[in-house]
């Protein structure tokens, strides 16, 4: 059985549904497998599997302009790969992107190749002035996702939630 937390993923998925998210773009990675499967099995969710994360910015921007709330699921390396789109579409056009970023590479990480992205992700978010919060425990999930969505819409700007190891991984 995969040590990725099904319970943590379910809480996140339910909170996104409660925030009226109807379209989700995703580039799967280990921590996101349950979330992607939940979206896949939900007949009311439009799931868009991407070739590269930056596409998700355009798709979410189109969904927003068309009146549909969306979320982007990606690893922190995917966030790093999407930055030009986030700046030159999301920020330039004041698009309320809701980005859920798996925060690989923090304490407890066993994959050597994941260890660089974790160290820079929060600094890059700060440099971009993107408001973010961390989801580390089950009690964070519902409230922080709802609040992130509220700020994204009221400020009309991208926001990010970091999906952290203690929530996503049942060690």
């Amino acid at each position: 059985m995969s040590p990725v937390s099904t319970a943590g993923s379910r809480l996140i998925y339910d909170a996104l549904k409660a925030s009226d998210v109807r379209l989700m773009s995703a580039l799967p990675e280990t921590w996101l497998v349950h979330l992607v499967r939940m979206a896949e099995e939900d007949p009311d969710m439009i799931l868009v599997r991407l070739a590269k994360e930056e596409e998700g910015v355009g798709i979410s921007a189109g969904a927003h302009l068309a009146g549909v709330r969306s979320a982007m699921l990606m690893q922190n390396h995917g966030f790093l790969a999407a930055i030009n789109g986030i700046v030159s579409c999301g920020q330039l056009y004041r698009i309320p992107l809701l980005m859920l970023i798996s925060q690989r590479g923090s304490f407890g990480e066993t994959d050597p190749w994941q260890t660089e992205g974790g160290g820079v992700t929060e600094y890059v978010l700060e440099a971009l002035r993107i408001p973010f919060d961390r989801l580390e425990a089950p009690e964070h999930v519902g409230k922080r996702i709802a609040k992130a969505q509220t700020l994204a819409l009221s400020a009309s700007r991208p926001v990010a939630l970091l999906l952290c190891r203690d929530l996503m991984w049942a060690d």
Binding site: R22, L23, I46, V48, R49, L50, A51, K52, E54, E55, G56, V57, G58, I59, S60, A61, G62, A63, H64, L65, A66, G67, V68, S70, N84, G85, S88, C89, L92, Y93, R94
Partner: protein, 191 residues
């Protein structure tokens, strides 16, 4: 064929569509013919116009969506063609004006000048309808056929590497963005 002439040739058909363009010459030329509230010009984020069109097309399958792309932009998001093909929005016509050049930054040649074939790439990515045209008559005919086909089409139009004198227009990015979103809201099906 000149791109301005090509856009003029399909301009009447754009009235009922939702149109997303790339930055630079395409945006400036469409505005020079006449801006409408159903036109959105993505004035940066090169490559993402087709992704943005896909987001609209999937969110609002009742709307006919037209993306006016370019060779330089599409070459920055070739992977997006596989995503377009995968979800195959029947309501999206993807036009690519291919002038084999990054015209607005000085005309440096792109890889289509050395043989890369964007229609063939789209076809191999799985786009069900693809074609390349060289003349205005062919372009208008292929565009009308794409609009009535009811399936995803990538239509590559070979055009001359000429453009307008300038690219900045008096339509601000934010004005365009909010006007376009309001237009799409007003076209929501009535409950």
């Amino acid at each position: 064929m000149r791109r301005l002439g090509a856009i003029e040739a399909i301009y009447p058909e754009l009235e009922r569509s939702v149109v997303v363009t790339i930055m630079g010459a395409v945006a400036a030329e469409l505005q020079s013919i006449g801006h409408r509230p159903n036109f959105f010009y993505l004035q940066h984020a090169m490559g993402l116009a087709s992704s943005l069109g896909l987001g609209i097309a999937l969110s609002r399958p009742e709307l006919p969506v037209v993306v006016l792309d370019g060779d330089g932009s599409l070459l920055m998001n070739l992977g997006g063609l596989t995503t377009l093909a995968r979800y195959r929005p029947r309501n999206l016509v993807h036009v690519v004006f291919d002038n084999e050049s990054l015209l607005s930054v000085g005309g440096f040649p792109t890889a289509t000048s050395t043989g890369s074939d964007l229609a063939a790439i789209a076809k191999a990515a799985g786009v069900p309808r693809t074609t390349t045209v060289d003349t205005l008559e062919q372009f208008r005919g292929a565009f009308l056929a794409a609009q009535s086909a009811g399936d995803l089409t990538t239509l590559v139009a070979k055009v001359e590497a000429v453009g307008p004198a300038g690219y900045v227009t008096d339509l601000s990015l934010m004005e365009n963005r909010y006007q376009f979103a309001r237009h799409l809201r007003e076209r929501l099906p009535k409950e």
